[in-house]
C-alpha cells in the first residue's frame, strides 16, 4: 500500500514537471492548429467576417483547392523545389563533409565559417540574392559577362518564369549546404578510426572504405539530414516571399505562399486555412515516418 502511494506521488511529481511543457504545447500549438482545422471547414471570408456568419461547408474548401490550377501548380512546384534542393544540398554537403573530415590545417575554422550562410536570417539572404540576381546590374549577370559566359541577352533570373525557380533553388542550397555538411561531419567523427585502420590492413581501397564503411555507418545521420532537410525545404516561405513573392506568373508559388496569399492578401481565410492544413498533413506524414525510422534504429 505504502509503495503504491509512493508510486502515485512519483507520477504526480512527474506530471508537475511536464505540465509547463504541456501547457505551452496546448496554448501555442494545439489551440491554433485546432482553430485552423475548424476554420478550414467553414467559409470565412472578408464578407462574413464581422457577423461571424460563416457556416460549415464540409470539404468544399479542400475540393475547390484541389481543383484550383494555381494550387496544383504550387503543390507540384513545392515538391520539385524540395527534391531539387535536397539532392543538390545533400550531395554537395556530403562531399564537403568528407573534405573537412580530413585532418588538415584550418579545417575546423573554415568549416565554422561556412556555417555563417546557414545562420544568417533568411530574409537577409533572400534580399541579398534578390539584388544579386537582378537582370541589369546584378552581380551574377555581371560575373557571367566578365567571364564571357553570357550568350545573347542577359538572363532575367527573377523575371523569367523558366529561370526563377532555379534562382530560388540556388539560394536555398546556399543556405542548406552548410547544414547538411555539419550534421554529416558530426556523424563521421563518431566512426572510430580503428575500423578504417583494420580495413586498410585488409587491403581496402578508398572507394570500398567509403561505400562499405562510411555510408553504412552514417545511415542514421543520413536519414536525419534527409528528413529534416525535407521538412525545412517543404515549408519554405520567407525566402520565396522575399525574392519573388511567388512570381513571376506563379512560377515560384509554393503551398505556403499560396496559403499566405489566400489568407492575408485575398482575405479568403478558410481557403488559406485549408491549404495550410494540407501542408501540415504532408509534413506530419514525413515527421511520423522519420520518428518511426529513428525508433527502429535505436531499438537495434
Amino acid at each position: 500500500m505504502q509503495k503504491l502511494l509512493m508510486r502515485k506521488r512519483d507520477q504526480l511529481t512527474g506530471l508537475v514537471f511536464v505540465l509547463p511543457a504541456i501547457l505551452y504545447m496546448l496554448v501555442l500549438m494545439v489551440y491554433p492548429l485546432v482553430y485552423n482545422f475548424i476554420l478550414s471547414f467553414r467559409n470565412l471570408t472578408v464578407m462574413n467576417f464581422k457577423n461571424n456568419a460563416a457556416v460549415f461547408i464540409g470539404f468544399e474548401n479542400y475540393l475547390n483547392i484541389f481543383r484550383d490550377k494555381d494550387f496544383q501548380q504550387a503543390l507540384l512546384q513545392t515538391l520539385w523545389f524540395t527534391l531539387a534542393c535536397i539532392t543538390v544540398q545533400f550531395s554537395i554537403g556530403f562531399v564537403l563533409a568528407v573534405f573537412f573530415n580530413a585532418k588538415f590545417h584550418l579545417a575546423k575554422p573554415v568549416r565554422g565559417m561556412m556555417l555563417v550562410a546557414w545562420m544568417m536570417p533568411i530574409s537577409v539572404t533572400g534580399l541579398l540574392f534578390k539584388y544579386m540576381f537582378l537582370t541589369e546590374g546584378g552581380v551574377i549577370n555581371e560575373l557571367l559577362k566578365v567571364f564571357g559566359l553570357m550568350f545573347g541577352s542577359p538572363p532575367g533570373w527573377l523575371i523569367d518564369p523558366k529561370l526563377a525557380m532555379w534562382a530560388v533553388i540556388i539560394t536555398n542550397c546556399w543556405i542548406g549546404i552548410p547544414f547538411n555538411m555539419l550534421l554529416l561531419t558530426t556523424g563521421m567523427s563518431n566512426i572510430s578510426a580503428d575500423i578504417y585502420e583494420s580495413a586498410a590492413i585488409d587491403g581496402c581501397t578508398v572507394f570500398q572504405k567509403f561505400f562499405l564503411i562510411t555510408v553504412p555507418m552514417l545511415k542514421a545521420s543520413i536519414l536525419s539530414v534527409l528528413m529534416l532537410g525535407f521538412i525545412y525545404t517543404f515549408k519554405v516561405f520567407d525566402l520565396i516571399f522575399m525574392m519573388t513573392k511567388g512570381g513571376p506568373l506563379n512560377a515560384t508559388e509554393v503551398v505556403s505562399t499560396y496559403s499566405y496569399r489566400q489568407s492575408f492578401t485575398l482575405f479568403n481565410f478558410s481557403v488559406g486555412s485549408a491549404s495550410a492544413i494540407i501542408l501540415f498533413v504532408c509534413l506530419m506524414t514525413v515527421g511520423v515516418f522519420y520518428l518511426r525510422m529513428i525508433q527502429k534504429d535505436e531499438a537495434m
Binding site: 472578408v46 467576417f49 464581422k50 541589369e136 518564369p161 519573388t244 513573392k245 492578401t265 485575398l266 482575405f267
Partner: protein
C-alpha cells in the same frame, strides 16, 4: 512556493498601481499605429510624430502613444486583431484597403461624431468615399496623392524632344531617350505584383476609357497593349515587373531611366539624393483620343472597434484633421490635404513648379474602389499585367480572364 505567491501578488499590485497612476493624472492613454517612414527629418513619419507630440503637449486629457509598424505587418495585425480584439485605439490604412477592414469590423462607425463636428463638408468627396460604407463613415482621409510623369529635363533637351502629352508622343520620346550603350531606359513604371502595380496601371487604364466592370473592353486592352509595346520597343525594362515605386524612383535618381511615373512623396528624396539633377514633372500622358487621368492615393485614419474611449480618440482625429494641422503636414510632407480649406490656405500648391503640377493633376485623380473585395480585383489586374509583360498571354486573353474574375466579385 509561498515566496512565489508573494512575488506574484507584489507584481500584480505594482501593475495595477501603474494603471491607477495614469488614471490619477486624468489622462486617457491611447495607442496609434502608423507606417509612415521616419528615415529623414523631413520624412512624413517624422512630421506626423511631431504633430502627435504637439497634441500631447497642448492638452491634458488624452495622451497618444504612437508606434511604427511596417505596412505589410500592420495589415496582418488588423486581421488578427479583428479576431482576437487586440487592436490599437487608432489606426492608419491605405485607402483602397479601408473598405475591407470596415467590412471586417476593424473600424468604428463615427458618423454621428463627424456630423456633430460640422466640418465634413470641407473634405473632398473622392478621398472621403474610401471611408464610407452604406452611407456610414468609419474614419477620415489624412492625406492624398496622385501620379505624375517625372522627366529629366537635360536628357530630354539633349535628345531634342519635348515633354510628351499623348501616348504616341510618349512612345517616340521614350524611344529617343533610351540608350543601351550607357544602360539607360526611356521610362519606368512600377508593375510589381501587388497594390502598387495596380495603382500605377490605373492612369493608363482610365485615360483610355477603361472600366472596372468591363476589364476586357477596348480601353483597358489598349492601355495594356501600349505599356507592353514600350517594353517590346526596349524603352522600358522588363524588370519593372519586380520594381516597386521606390525602385523606380531609385532608378530615376541614378539616371538609369530618363522618365518615371511616380507620386509626390518621392519629390523630397529626388531633391535630396540628386541635388544637381535638372528635372520636372508633367501630367501622365493621355491616350491619343482620351483625356488626362490619374489615380488617387493616400492614407486614412480610423478609430478601431477595440478603442477604449472613442470620444477621446475623436478629439485627436479632430485635431489631426483640422484645417491648420492638415495644411502644415501636407505642405512639408509633399502631399495633398483632403480638405478644401487647407489646400486653399497655402500657396505651395500654386507657386511651386513641381507641386503645382501635382495639384492640377489632383482634379483627374480617381479613387480605387471602394469595395470590400478590392484586393481580389486588384490582384486580377496585376496578374493580367504580369501575364502580358512576361509574354504568357496577349492583352485581350489576359484581360478576358481578369474580367471574368472581377465580374464574379462585382456581381455579388
Amino acid at each position: 512556493m509561498k515566496k512565489l505567491v508573494v512575488l506574484f501578488l507584489a507584481l500584480s499590485l505594482l501593475l495595477s498601481m501603474t494603471a491607477f497612476g495614469v488614471a490619477a493624472e486624468g489622462k486617457v492613454e491611447l495607442s496609434l499605429w502608423h507606417y509612415f517612414g521616419t528615415d529623414y527629418e523631413y520624412s512624413d513619419g517624422s512630421i506626423f510624430q511631431k504633430d502627435i507630440d504637439n497634441f500631447n503637449a497642448m492638452q491634458d486629457k488624452v495622451h497618444i502613444t504612437y508606434e511604427f509598424v511596417a505596412r505589410e505587418d500592420l495589415l496582418r495585425q488588423y486581421q488578427m486583431g479583428a479576431m482576437s480584439g487586440e487592436l490599437p485605439d487608432i489606426g492608419m490604412v491605405d485607402n483602397p484597403d479601408m473598405a475591407s477592414y470596415i467590412q471586417m469590423g476593424v473600424f468604428a462607425d463615427i458618423t454621428d461624431q463627424l456630423n456633430a463636428w460640422g466640418q465634413l463638408d470641407q473634405f473632398f468627396p473622392g478621398p472621403l468615399s474610401s471611408c464610407t460604407q452604406d452611407g456610414r463613415i468609419y474614419g477620415l482621409p489624412h492625406n492624398s496623392n496622385c501620379l505624375c510623369l517625372f522627366y529629366d529635363v537635360d536628357m530630354l533637351e539633349a535628345a531634342g524632344q519635348k515633354v510628351p502629352e499623348t501616348w504616341s508622343e510618349l512612345r517616340e520620346v521614350a524611344k529617343a531617350l533610351t540608350d543601351p550603350s550607357v544602360g539607360r531606359y526611356g521610362l519606368a513604371i512600377s508593375a510589381v505584383k501587388n497594390e502598387e502595380g495596380t495603382f500605377q496601371f490605373m492612369p493608363w487604364f482610365i485615360s483610355a476609357g477603361g472600366k472596372l466592370e468591363e476589364l476586357n473592353g477596348q480601353g483597358c486592352v489598349e492601355a495594356l497593349t501600349f505599356l507592353n509595346d514600350l517594353i517590346l520597343d526596349g524603352s522600358m525594362p522588363k524588370d519593372i515587373v519586380n520594381f516597386s515605386q521606390g525602385d523606380c524612383n531609385n532608378q530615376f535618381i541614378s539616371g538609369n531611366v530618363a522618365m518615371q511615373v511616380n507620386g509626390p512623396w518621392n519629390v523630397a528624396s529626388v531633391k535630396e539624393l540628386a541635388p544637381d539633377k535638372n528635372w520636372a514633372v508633367a501630367l501622365v500622358p493621355r491616350a491619343d483620343n482620351g483625356v488626362h487621368a490619374s489615380v488617387l492615393g493616400g492614407e486614412n485614419f480610423g478609430i478601431t472597434t477595440a478603442c477604449k474611449d472613442v470620444d477621446a480618440a475623436f478629439e485627436f482625429l479632430k485635431y489631426l484633421m483640422s484645417k491648420e494641422v492638415s495644411a502644415d503636414f501636407c505642405e512639408v510632407a509633399g502631399k495633398f490635404s483632403p480638405r478644401a480649406d487647407s489646400t486653399a490656405s497655402k500657396d505651395i500648391w500654386v507657386v511651386d513648379p513641381i507641386f503645382s503640377v501635382f495639384a492640377d493633376n489632383m482634379q483627374y485623380a480617381m479613387p480605387r474602389g471602394p469595395h470590400p473585395r478590392w484586393p481580389e480585383i486588384s490582384t486580377a489586374i496585376s496578374v493580367a499585367e504580369h501575364e502580358v509583360f512576361l509574354g504568357a498571354k496577349d492583352a485581350q486573353t489576359a484581360l478576358n480572364d481578369a474580367a471574368a474574375t472581377v465580374k464574379s466579385i462585382l456581381g455579388k
